[in-house]
Amino acid sequence: MGRLPHAIACSIAVSSCVHTGVEPDVAPPRQWSVSLDIHTETARSDGEPLDTVLRPLARIDESRRFSIRGERALRHPDGSRSTRLRFSGEDPLSGRVVDLRHFESGEILALDWLEHAAGPAGGIDVISPIFPLVSPKVPLLRRGQQGRMITAWPVEVGPDRKVTERIRTVWTHLGTQRLGGRAAHAFRYQGDWETTGEDAGHTPSVGVEGRGRATGSLWLDVSDLSVMAHEFDWERRLVLDYPAAPGAAVQLVQRQHLSGRVDQQAVGR
């Protein structure tokens, strides 16, 4: 039997301890390199061709490379932790910071300061899957076992702009493998990806609905269950309603395909 169930059980037990208040978290920082390939295609849902103004949306291909440094900041009374994620590298996200509040199990409670990463340059629309990539919620499994897991995380860009991302996946524990000279629990997952919410920063609000699939492979360090590597291939069909478009409402359908890999790096200064 692998050590994973014991290790996760121990970490859950630790995370459920009652604390008297918020405490500094002295856990060592982690750092990951991220390669993210983005391919999107956009069309009108009514089948009309895109006009001149909308045509730049028709097809977008981007390759993004950046690093994320996760610095543990606080332990909360409910056992959750706040980890400050700092982006760096040759990317528009460089220098931005997002605060990830999560349990040791990987479950994400909140993402703060997302507005720092939002907008065309940051692209919160396509980087929101990054967060469960570095903080995945994995079911308790023995080698060879399969298990289901629902992972949801809120994407709130200020008080009015909120979507909930949700993946319903089947996980398979592939056993222990060597990765970069270290032992890792290997997993594979596949399932559905849903997005629901709205941008109420406008009146009337912009509706956001998405459906798709998420597949990936994950390696967790045997010693501390941190993410050593994560290969991902996620895609969805996002429907966005723009009821205030002049003349007549516009509904756009954007197919987003995100793929790439996250690798843990040696922590630099």
């Binding site: 006009d51 103004v53 507005e115 907008g119 200020g158 702009r161 941008d199 966005l240 723009y242 987003q256």
Partner: protein, 170 residues
């Protein structure tokens, strides 16, 4: 130069005096009479004045300010003029704030803030002394639709108008 300008808001002045521990006349306070309080600016007056000078407030922002919270310390003269003293990023800054909405008109491209939500601390501040103002720069649109990262300027403005996202007056 003349002394402090007497407040035109006696009730406010009374409360401020009480908060500052100046004693409440007529309630048997044994403390010697306190000097008149400095000229406080009433919160609503501060908000009104700030709203009247959006360009001045926006001009306090650094050119590379991104969406999120920025805390400014400005010297607010109450006559519609502002003088920036310091600027710092303040993600998640706590505090008791009163919100207002400042619409910055004009171009929304290339980092120009589309909207700035500003907050001033409850109780406002002293005329002529630094006042902390919290600015929340609303992320540029669109938020959840992926657009080319190099779509800027008139093309981006046109896209926002096409989708009905352009701010009033933009």
């Amino acid at each position: 130069m003349s002394g402090p300008v007497p407040s035109r808001h006696p009730r406010w002045r009374f409360l401020v005096a009480a908060v500052l521990g100046a004693g409440v006349p007529g309630l048997g306070s044994a403390a010697p009479p306190a000097p008149p309080p400095p000229p406080y600016l009433e919160r609503s007056a501060a908000l009104a004045a700030l709203a009247a000078v959006p360009e001045a407030l926006a001009s306090c922002l650094p050119a590379d300010a991104t969406a999120g919270l920025v805390r400014l310390r400005v010297r607010f003269h109450g006559d519609g003029t502002l003088e920036p003293v310091s600027v710092e990023d303040a993600p998640g800054a706590p505090g008791c704030w009163t919100d207002g909405l400042l619409r910055v008109r004009g171009s929304r491209h290339a980092g120009a803030p589309a909207e700035v939500r500003f907050s001033v601390p409850v109780g406002a501040g002293l005329l002529g002394t630094p006042l902390d103002v919290e600015l929340r720069i609303v992320p540029p649109d669109p938020v959840f639709l992926h657009v080319p990262s190099d779509l800027e300027g008139p093309e981006r403005d046109a896209l926002l108008k096409r989708l009905g996202l352009a701010a009033e007056g933009a």
